[in-house]
Subunit: 215 residues, 4 copies
């Protein structure tokens, strides 16, 4: 698998905190298989960090009175991602580090109303690697915006889950329409990581401004 230029791994909306899936109040349909995907996700994030490739976290949030939810209740989804709910936190065991960007969003695309493009430019990113969910909503529309911002996209097909199996498959076909090399599997990513270089912009920044510590 070829990854061109600096890559960044974007973890899209893997939320739920330590709340069991069947106890979550977040009303979003999803296809089965989450339990199988989580270890692959965790391994991919760990190996990405070990190679010095930046990880960026996306977290959808809305105010408890949902004043900021826009039209997101006009379709298939009910209330979701409420600030203060434990199930809105990043999933247990996937802990963003202080030096990693944790970007809150209020719409589906991780580019919409967020600093994501600022961050990707800071890393002089050429390729974005996408994992998380939903394949057919937040992953798909983040991939589209990445494409429109001229980034190469890689969606890790066994590390994303859709609102249904059919919607998942259709979204992957749509992403493949945009970029014919966009669909990859986790095993291919691990192979690529074996020899991937650390992000030079992080190295440069760390050297220029050696991590101020909170006092």
């Amino acid at each position: 698998m070829n990854v061109v230029g600096n890559a960044v791994l974007i973890v899209v909306d893997i939320q739920g905190g330590d709340v069991e899936e069947n106890a979550s109040r977040t009303e979003i349909p999803h296809m089965p298989g989450r339990a199988e995907r989580i270890p692959k996700v965790r391994e991919l994030i760990q190996r990405t960090r070990e190679q010095g490739i930046p990880v960026v976290w996306i977290q959808e949030v809305h105010k408890p009175n949902l004043i900021d939810i826009g039209r997101e209740l006009d379709g298939a989804e009910g209330p979701h991602c409420v600030e203060g709910w434990p199930e809105t936190e990043i999933s247990k065991g996937l802990d963003p580090r202080p030096e990693e960007f944790l970007i809150r969003k209020r719409r589906y695309s991780a580019f919409f109303g967020t600093e994501l493009d600022i961050v990707l430019r800071a890393y002089k990113t050429e390729t974005v690697i996408l994992i998380g969910g939903l394949t057919d909503v937040c992953v798909h529309y983040t991939a589209v915006d990445a494409h429109q911002h001229d980034y190469r996209i890689r969606v890790v097909t066994d590390c994303v889950g859709g609102s249904s199996r059919e919607a998942h498959d259709a979204a992957l076909r749509a992403v493949h329409y945009l970029q014919r090399d966009a669909l990859v599997e986790q095993a291919e990513m691990l192979n690529w990581l074996d020899t991937a270089s650390a992000n030079p912009e992080v190295t440069r920044a760390d050297r220029t401004h050696p991590a101020f510590q909170p006092t």
Copy 2:
């Protein structure tokens, strides 16, 4: 059919000028049925204008050396929408009027790098009606951005065409996931237009600044 608030009809990428489809150098796959859709499109535009509802035209364009085409050649499409090609013009017989906005875009979503949101705000738009193509690319991603900008969306299912029948169907399902009332047919739109009111912002603007004429 219910349309809430001020509506605007957005005509997405109905281009080709007076060039026969099989003679066009624009390399974009498409499903059959264009000949059947065009009269419906024309009728819908005409009735929309007669009722005083604004029509906004979207036209994709790229420089002849394609320097601005971004990643649009990385997938299923070849060169397309070249400035100066007659097949890049709005399709013959669909003539934007001087008072209508003709918005050029260089990516798929009609919101991306354009004044579309400025224009929709000017009309105090609440609902956008989408026709044109491709259902699964420019129409889909324009609908997503309209959704994220809090507009209600109406995609006229028999006035849009996809890169394939399957992709067209999948995109309509994705739009329906976003807004359960989003899919309508042209006949329903015509019924609604029978009693629709003219856009009050146009009336107000025309009264305030009575159309300066070019000298």
Copy 3:
């Protein structure tokens, strides 16, 4: 003073936590007078809340290695607003409430790479009231973007501070060039607040989704 439509108070970058000004590591020039402004700011925020007008908080943040600081070190400013520094927190005694939006930004304009416009649309805002600093940088450029997004702007001249007195004055003149009614004093705002109505969108949202509580 006339305020048209729904108003929102935007508090721009009033940061410093509980760190004394002369102990702060944030290297940004500023004109004198902060001690006099703070009580006025506090009073204005309190009265705004009492009337049910939304308050939105803006906080500039950068990673400790400043990888995301862009070109902000190319001019008059040194390192500033580092995540984890106490002096990056909102100033002591000005505590955002859970129902108020606290928007982090990484550039000067509060619209740039943030959800501010999403939030202002949620409140169906027509007028934005600006306080904080710097008058000639973050306040000025937030005012410009508000203007370009079609909002009416009110800058409270005795509740903003600049990088120098001259720069403060010049920025206020520039804002007045954009909107001739833009400059107001805190006393005028208080008078207006005496009879201002609560934001109807908050009332509606609270009634529709009565505040979910964290469990």
Copy 4:
């Protein structure tokens, strides 16, 4: 003078067509000196082209009924830049070439609601050179947005004009606050151009897609 990376010259709102200044219906205040600036502007554009550095043209436009003018009449300016008026055209003798981008805007910043950032990315731009007007409005706010997009900025101080001499001077000081190397004179630019290299992205694009000709 040092220019870092690929540069692009942006010509901001040098409009007026072949209409004499005192006959123009565009109601925008301006400082004197336009007649002296125009030959310098023309020379700079010519030399920029000769060296193979891209020129991008910005043109403000509004519909005759000014429905899209937003809040631009709330301040010091009257109606301006009306589509169809000869005085809205680029000034006589400054003729954009077909291969140059001519970007229409409906607000003050050339980035707001336009494809400018798409175009600058296409050229892999690192430095933007700004000429035109008004120094304190469209040039200033375009410079700010360029700064926020991480571009290095160079404002050619004797090729820009403000709404008044005072406002012009204040805007240049504000730009200098952002980037201490931002202010340059036309003569320095000409010296730099003597040895500047052609934009490699144009060369690459021309070789990849040798200019399709209109048929």
